[in-house]
């Protein structure tokens, strides 16, 4: 994927050792399993992404690694240390970036660094502050308070504070949410620099493009389980070279019933003014679609055919999983309804 090789400098160095080992992890709330028996390994020096909708269990899992919650079953080891029973030792070795509201209002950047360095008992002197701020390009903002920084600058400051104790692993929680594209790209570079300095990065994200660009490996989570874990390229390949065709028209109605019958179509949606088809053979489907529209006298505009991305992977993985499970209808939903365009779970 061209984008990835353009932004990552040299292939990163992994020494092949796992730095986080999770086995049989379970966390229940009442009768629901927020984390439902997860096995996962993060290798030293990689950027490891965790994707999933809200409620998938990714935040709960991270909280257990960070020592904020206790699992009901399973083990977590960080750099060989038991994260459940020796969470204090683990906390000394990790850095965590939470949302940027979690910064003190009345302290400026250098004072925040000084404070957090003090909390870890590490060097927080002027030289160290300069070095840390320099790494994220915030040297000029030394004396600035949080409300004087832009969104992107706050995220960079947040990440800097997570690096104060030179952690072995740093956990980033949706680091680019709410940032404009320019700031997002800057932050990607920052994160790549973090990996380049030898720190393992675990990040959660909603943005598929981000996972594509940054992550060496991605775990896709849904309903407390890891349903896939591989490099982004491999995950896309699993879809079998699928592509997506979208188009608009003044009224799809007349042809909507025949969309799923077009050659090589895997899933289809056609309602109102928009249609979307997923296909394993772009050309065959496209030709048939154009013929169909032509015969029905429908003018298609904004015709678009694109290769599958991680987003499609995610949709197909979770859509398919949802279809395949036999579940009792909950809240009026019927089981096994397939071909749903988007899954939105509450909370």
């Amino acid at each position: 994927m061209t984008e990835r090789s353009a932004t990552s400098a040299t292939p990163h160095v992994q020494n092949g050792e796992p730095i986080i080992e999770i086995a049989g992890l379970v966390k229940r709330y009442g009768s629901t399993a927020a984390v439902d028996c997860i096995d996962l390994t993060v290798m030293t020096g990689e950027i490891f992404g965790i994707l999933g909708p809200n409620g998938a269990g990714k935040t709960t899992m991270l909280e257990m690694i960070e020592g904020l919650r206790k699992p009901d079953a399973g083990t977590i080891r960080v750099a060989g240390v038991d994260a459940v029973n020796e969470s204090d030792r683990v906390r000394q070795m990790i850095g965590v970036q939470l949302q940027t509201t979690a910064l003190f209002d009345y302290l400026n950047a250098s004072e925040l660094i000084e404070l957090f360095a003090g909390l870890y008992g590490v060097d927080g002197g002027d030289a160290r502050i300069d070095e840390l701020l320099g790494r994220v390009g915030l040297q000029e903002k030394r004396k600035s308070r949080v409300d004087e920084l832009s969104g992107g600058q706050r995220q960079r400051l947040s990440i800097t504070l997570a690096l104060v104790n030179q952690p072995k692993v740093v956990f980033l929680d949706e680091p680019t949410t709410g940032l404009d594209p320019g700031a997002r790209r800057d932050l990607w570079q920052t994160i790549l620099n973090v990996r380049a300095s030898g720190t393992t990065v675990v990040l959660t994200t909603h943005y598929m493009e981000e996972a594509d660009v940054l992550c060496d490996r991605v775990a896709v989570m849904d309903r407390g389980k890891v349903i896939a874990c591989d490099t982004p390229t491999a995950l896309v390949r699993r879809l079998g070279e699928q592509a997506t065709i979208t188009a608009r028209a003044s009224d799809i109605g007349p042809i909507s019933g025949q969309l799923s019958g077009l050659p090589a179509v895997v899933t289809s949606t056609g309602e109102d003014v928009r249609l979307e088809l997923r296909t394993t053979d772009v050309q065959a489907t496209l030709v048939a679609l154009l013929g169909l529209a032509d015969r029905a006298g429908i003018v298609l505009t904004d015709l678009n055919a694109r290769q599958s991305t991680l987003e499609d992977v995610f949709l197909s993985l979770t859509g398919r999983a949802y279809e395949q499970q036999t579940e009792k209808p909950e809240n009026g939903e019927s089981a096994g309804s397939g071909g749903r365009r988007r899954r939105r779970s509450a909370g």
């Binding site: 709330y29 020592g67 939470l98 979690a102 004072e111 404070l115 927080g124």
Partner: protein, 357 residues
């Protein structure tokens, strides 16, 4: 230990930059003192009320005549020595002069000058003026022996009465409002979580906040009392260390209430509402603005269980009358009990996370 000091240092920096907090903790009570002090202060009249008693002598009559002739004095000569001294104690006299007998060998009689030691700068002025009169009355013939004896009067100026009450109010607001909103904000914004993922224990975080609050409490006291002293001539009697102890115990009691509120308040708005709900009634029923003993009988039992009442009394007695630990120990115990109850509730209800479970 260093981590704790880092946290306290950061807390103090933040407190001094928090303009809202500075307003509520300093400017607000200071304004009270300025307004009430100006409106209700007794006139700083330059008229001295002098009682003159004792054996007759040339000195005495000359002194009496001189004082009578001056607008600066209102002279009272018809009382007995005891009666006049009683008046002095009641604050109705500034000076009482007791003239002794003329010595058989000649010379001036001894003069005992009694003054009200709680009158502050007024007393000094009175003494020097009276001394002048005595000296001129003696006309340099023979030196006059004047022995000065201080007497504690029960008279408390308005400022003496008011400032301890306002100080108690300031301590209460800083503790209850300050701490309740602070912790709810920390929780809502994820700051508690952020601290929780570091090796720094949350208990140390709370301790740092408490210690910072105590430093602020002492600073409040010093600034407010200093201001009152400078502008209105407030005199602080009593043992400074005792007063410091009261300030610390009082601050602890109120910050535990603030802490308790932050335990079950869901967000900042409700925390502030609970805080006001607690502080406002106390403000008017604890003797801050007027002597609560003059309140109706049915109200009295309520006022006797209010933490602010304990603090107001525990501050007022030493500050205005120089009372000691033996007089206020019950108030201190009550404040400590408040602290214990508040902390129990806080620990029982406090959630470190705004999300469930």
């Amino acid at each position: 230990m260093n981590a704790l000091l880092s946290m306290i240092k950061a807390n103090l920096k933040m407190t001094t930059r928090n303009r809202q907090a500075i307003f509520w903790n300093l400017a607000f009570p200071a304004i009270f003192i300025l307004i009430f002090g100006t409106v209700f202060s007794r006139d700083m009249s330059v008229e001295f009320s002098v009682g003159i008693v004792g054996a007759e002598s040339q000195l005495k009559s000359t002194t009496t005549a001189t004082m009578r002739g001056s607008d600066a004095f209102s002279v009272h000569t018809d009382g007995t020595s005891d009666a006049e001294l009683k008046q002095l104690e009641d604050g109705d006299r500034d000076i009482v002069l007791v003239f002794g007998d003329v010595p058989a060998s000649g010379g001036q009689p001894e003069v005992q000058l009694y003054y009200d030691e709680t009158a502050g700068p007024n007393a000094n002025i009175a003494i020097s003026v009276v001394r002048q009169v005595l000296l001129s009355a003696a006309q340099g013939e023979n030196p006059v022996t004047v022995s000065e004896t201080p007497v504690t009067s029960n008279e408390i100026t308005f400022i003496d009465f008011f400032v301890p009450g306002i100080l108690a109010m300031a301590l209460m607001n800083a503790g209850v409002i300050g701490l309740s909103t602070a912790f709810v904000i920390y929780r809502e914004r994820g700051i508690l979580r952020r601290i929780k993922v570091t090796p720094f224990p949350l208990t140390s975080f709370v301790l740092a906040r408490v210690l910072t609050q105590l430093v602020v409490a002492v600073a409040q006291a010093v600034i407010l009392v200093g201001m009152a002293r400078l502008i209105f001539g407030l005199t602080v009697h009593g043992n400074v260390f005792l007063i410091l102890l009261v300030i610390i115990v009082g601050a602890l009691a109120f910050l535990s209430i603030g802490f308790a509120i932050s335990g079950f308040a869901r967000n900042v708005e409700s925390a502030a509402s609970y805080a006001n709900l607690v502080t406002f009634p106390m403000l008017f029923l604890s003797g801050v603005f007027f002597d609560i003993d003059s309140a109706p009988g049915w109200l009295q039992p309520i006022t006797k269980v209010l933490p602010l009442r304990f603090l107001v009394d525990a501050l007022r007695e030493p500050m205005t009358r120089g009372k000691g630990l033996s007089d206020i120990w019950m108030d201190l115990v009550a404040l400590l009990a408040t602290f214990a109850i508040g902390m129990t509730i806080a620990i029982r209800f406090f959630r470190w996370d705004s999300r469930s479970a």
